[in-house]
Subunit: 315 residues, 2 copies
């Protein structure tokens, strides 16, 4: 198997589980890594001590590589980065910030650094900052999206044209066909979020997992573009936000409406009406909760089946 991402991370499959707040702790990350992918712990919703505990438990639960996703606007960012170095994490995915700030520090400690971008411009800036790879994330993703609204289908080939480091596609991928399509477009690997939310090992509330399974085409919408754009399931909180938008709110009013613990309330505590429920458009293709290892093997099986039968199905 010859693939730059597989070699960079020393993993079996070029399949990365996205580090998602309130969803991806040590259980999910280690399950994915044990299945041959790369599991990521989502530090964005963890206090420093909680993150340290998750890293330590993850190391005990898997002998395979895993990583940590760190949104750099995190208030305790220095402490977080020091914990990552102290605990000898080997792979860090950074997002929401300037990759120049932390890349040299992490790399000096032998850590591979990947930065998440949603536009060609920031992919180029990330390469200049010296990162080992970029995640190019399309508009359809559930996580933090760019204001350009560039979709996975167009972002991947445009980024590939402008950078020479490996490109990991994210946004809209939940099955083997999507993984193969992303790699046909030029990606070296894929990062998958929503599909792993509906896994047994995700730390999110069962109500939220069930809601993801029920979500169909048209049930999500990208909003809060003025703060950090997120794609939300249209629930009562979402509708209240839209009503607020009718009144041309200030940034402060939006922040006040969002409050401090909306995402926790929705995804971790399972309040489907008043919580923030972040998920990608591809939730419409997710119909059951499965063990993370089964998700990985099902995706790889479909990926290989489509690749191998393609010459028969297409001209």
């Amino acid at each position: 198997m010859k693939n730059r991402i597989v070699e960079l991370f020393k993993i079996k499959y070029p399949l990365i589980q996205a580090g998602m707040i309130w969803n991806s702790g040590w259980k999910l990350a280690s399950a994915v890594s044990n299945a041959g992918g790369l599991g990521l712990i989502g530090a964005g919703s963890m206090y420093p001590d909680v993150l340290r505990e998750h890293i330590q438990k993850c190391k005990k639960a898997t002998n395979f590589p895993f990583g940590v996703n760190v949104p750099m606007l995190y208030p305790n960012i220095e402490e977080i980065m020091q914990i990552i170095v102290d605990e000898e994490v080997k792979i860090v995915f950074t997002s929401a910030g300037n990759p120049k700030t932390w890349t040299p520090f992490l790399q000096q400690h032998g850590i591979k650094v990947v930065h998440v971008v949603s536009s060609v411009k920031f992919a180029v800036k990330s390469e200049q900052a010296g990162v080992d790879a970029v995640v190019a994330e399309g508009f359809e993703a559930g996580g933090h999206n760019g204001r350009e609204e560039t979709t996975t289908f167009t972002l991947i080939p445009m980024v590939k044209e402008k950078v020479s480091i490996p490109v990991i596609a994210a946004g809209g991928i939940a099955a083997g066909r999507g993984m193969l399509a992303a790699m046909v477009l030029g990606a070296d690997a894929v990062q998958i979020g929503s599909r792993f939310v509906a896994s047994n090992e995700a730390s999110s509330h069962i109500n939220f997992k069930n809601e993801v399974v029920k979500t169909e085409d048209g049930d999500t919408h990208l909003t809060l573009k003025e703060l950090a754009p997120v794609r939300l399931i249209k629930n009562n909180f979402f509708n209240e936000l839209q009503n607020l938008y009718q009144q041309k709110p200030t940034l402060e009013q939006l922040k006040e409406k969002l409050g401090r613990a909306r995402a926790k309330k929705g995804m971790f505590e399972g309040d489907l009406e008043n919580g923030e429920l972040e998920i990608g458009q591809i939730a419409g293709l997710i119909h059951e909760i499965k063990p993370a290892a089964k998700i990985v093997t099902d995706i790889i099986k479909e990926f290989q089946w489509v690749k191998n039968t393609m010459n028969k199905d297409l001209f």
Copy 2:
């Protein structure tokens, strides 16, 4: 070669050139059909007599199948449909309306009918209306988009899951990799618009073609969602529209701002500042104006090359 769309239309490649207002007259459609794809005349910007002339010229310019794209909200729709029947057009793509209205009439005259949709729901309704195939068009497209904002990457597999008629992918495709990726996701064929705008044979103004070549990631935006959503290059007219949106305009104010001939002014007359310039996000991947036949053969060449080398490049 075994492919449902190739058999349905009796064409060589499952590659369709989108029928685009002010861009695709008989010259472009016949050039694409002569090169082995399916060319479409865009009736949306033509008076009935002009359309008749384009159909007649197209029949003289090619012996291969071609079609006509008809937005069904067209004011002279009865006259248009009668011309299509009288001139013995064999293929019609309908959009912007209910597929139940015209599908039986056209099919009774031996015409294959394809309807353009942007959501799973309307794909299912189109199949129920008896169309021969659907175009599933993603958010990244330049043409008329749906309010759900579903992207090509997620729309294709979700539509494939719910309909059994052939699915033609549109939105974000301008090269062989994109064509192959769409077919990996489940599409039976692709419809390509933006790439053919930057062709010698497109009827649009050279200023517009040059502007498409210059367009980069982030230079377009989907707007006018309250009327019929369109993706526009951010020029002076676009900025004026955004300023108007700041004032919470009524539908009437939006219509007044748009005026009657904005699209013609921009795309056909080449007024890059005050005209409406419709194009897809994938314009960022288009770097030169080429003959339509060269566009077709370059796409097919890359498509076949990627498909045949895939086993070496991926695991």
